[in-house]
Each structure stands twice: as C-alpha cells, then as structure tokens.
Amino acid sequence: MPSYLFWLFATIMLIGACAVIAFRNPVSSALAMVTSFVGLAALFIGLSAFFVGVIQILVYSGAIMVLFLFIIMLLDLKDEKRRTESYLPLVAGLSLVGIFFIQLIGVLSNKLPNQSAPILDKATLAAAAGDYPEGSKINEALTNGKLPDVHLIGETLFTQYNLPLQILGILLLVATVGVVVLSKRQTN
C-alpha cells in the first residue's frame, strides 16, 4: 500500500471516529461510524488481510451498524442536550486520553523491529508453496503467485483453532438465547 493511500484512509478513519463523538444526533454518529469502519477496512486490505477487511465491512458496517440504527429508530431518541454541569468528567476524560497519548509516544519513540513488512512478491509466494501439500488449492494459488488469504485463514481456523471455533459457536448460541430472553416482554 503506498504511503499516500495509507494516510488518506487513516485520515478518513480518524475523522469518522471524531465525528462519532462530536455529533449530537445518534443517527449522524452511527453513519460517521460506518465511514470510520470503511476506512479501517481499507487499511486492512492494504495490509493484505483481505478476508478481515471484507468481514469488517460485512459484519461491522453491515450488520452491527444496521442493528444500532434499528435500535435508535426503535427508541426514537432526540438530540442530546448540551450539558451545563461540572467539568469534572471532561477533565477526567481528557487527562485519561493525555496519559494514554504520552504512553503511545513513549512506545513509538523506541525503534521497533520489523520496520518494513516482508515483501509478498511472486518469488516469495512460490517459495512458500512448498509448505503446503501438492495439489491443494493453497499450493496452487501460491505457485501462481497469488496470496490465497481466505484459504489460509480457513486452513488455520479449522485445524489449529478448531476448539476455540466450537466454543465460539456455543457463545453465539448463548448470546442468541440471551437476547431473546432479554427482549421478551415480562408478563406477570
């Protein structure tokens, strides 16, 4: 990813994030959040994480934000009124952010290893093909000089991370049942 594209998408993402907390109207905030997440998905794709970028758009910008908009519509919220009380929360919030920012500068002022990403050119990909069985899709794509991102993620997910995946399935089931129980109107 060229530098100017990185800074473009990073700026879109950060401006969207600022707009989320700056807007008074919750619907505007939700739409600003979609902008922010689209910028973030572009950054993911720039990092060659195509699958993560696509599910970022599908799950966050699609499903989660629609859910947010739906709830905002359901509750029929008005614009938040300007507050007039003490500035204690403001000071606390800004000092928290300040401390975090100082920490960030502390981390970034040290020289980190791996300053440049490994180059994913055809030769590297073809060399990596040897690690995967002959005739498999991953091997075939790598030999042709393409990064089979989804296949590699699937391979890792269903071999190395099989148990966490099953547990995740149970978690989603529990969440579904919990949501139904929570949103059922109490009748007694």
Binding site: P2, S3, F6, W7, L14, A17, V20, I21, P26, S29, M33, S36, F37, L43, F44, L47, S48, A49, V52, Q56, V59, Y60, F68, L74, L75, L77, E80, R83, P89, G93, L96, V97, F100, F101, L104, V107, L108, L112, N114, Q115, S116, P118, L120, L125, A127, A128, L147, L152, I153, T156, L157, L168, L171, L172, A175, T176, G178, V179, L182, S183
Partner: protein, 106 residues
C-alpha cells in the same frame, strides 16, 4: 510503504478517540459505539503485527488474524446482547442517558 510505527500510531489515536467518547458522552448508545471503536483499534494493531512479523515462509502470521476474527465475532454477540439490555433499560426507565441512571449511587 508505511512502517509499523505508523500503524501503531493510527491505532493508538483511534483507541484514544474511542476512550474519550466513552468517558465524555452521556448517551449510552454512543458509549457503546465508542467501545466498538476501541475494539477496532485493537484489531488494527493485531493485523499490522500479523503482516509485519517475519515468519519462516514470509507469509503473514495468521495467528493474529485468527484473534481478529474471534474479536469481531465476540463483538457482534456483545452488540446484540448490549442493545437488548439497552432496550430493556429504556422500557424500565424511559431514559438512556447515563446521568439519569443513579439508582446505584451511594
């Protein structure tokens, strides 16, 4: 090519903005959105490290992207449950402003 530091800087800024939103805003739905922003900032860090790690065959390290996958899934479940709680709260109290929810205040 942007360096690892640039990604960490942007992700740290996104996290700070999310944290500021959680502390500053009073509307519980916006607070919830800012939580999602903070989770996304962590995801950006994970993907950046996964790409920049030098592995044996120079492919990205997919362990990091697995964690991102799990985080996104858990976040989706969390949003569903959280919004259901907010709807139940609104039914009980007719407000979602954190200033007006003071029954636990001593």
């Amino acid at each position: 090519m942007p360096a690892l530091n640039d990604y960490l800087l942007v992700s740290g800024l996104l996290f700070s903005i999310g944290l500021a939103g959680v502390v500053l805003r009073r509307n519980i739905i916006i607070v919830f959105m800012c939580l999602e922003l903070m989770l996304s900032a962590a995801n950006l860090t994970l993907v950046a490290f996964s790409r920049f790690k030098v592995t044996a065959n120079d492919l990205p390290d997919y362990d990091g992207q697995m964690l991102v996958f799990f985080v996104i899934t858990v976040a989706a479940a969390e949003v569903a449950v959280g919004l259901a709680i907010i709807v139940a709260l609104y039914r009980a109290r007719q407000t979602i402003h954190t200033d007006e929810l003071v029954s636990l205040k001593g």
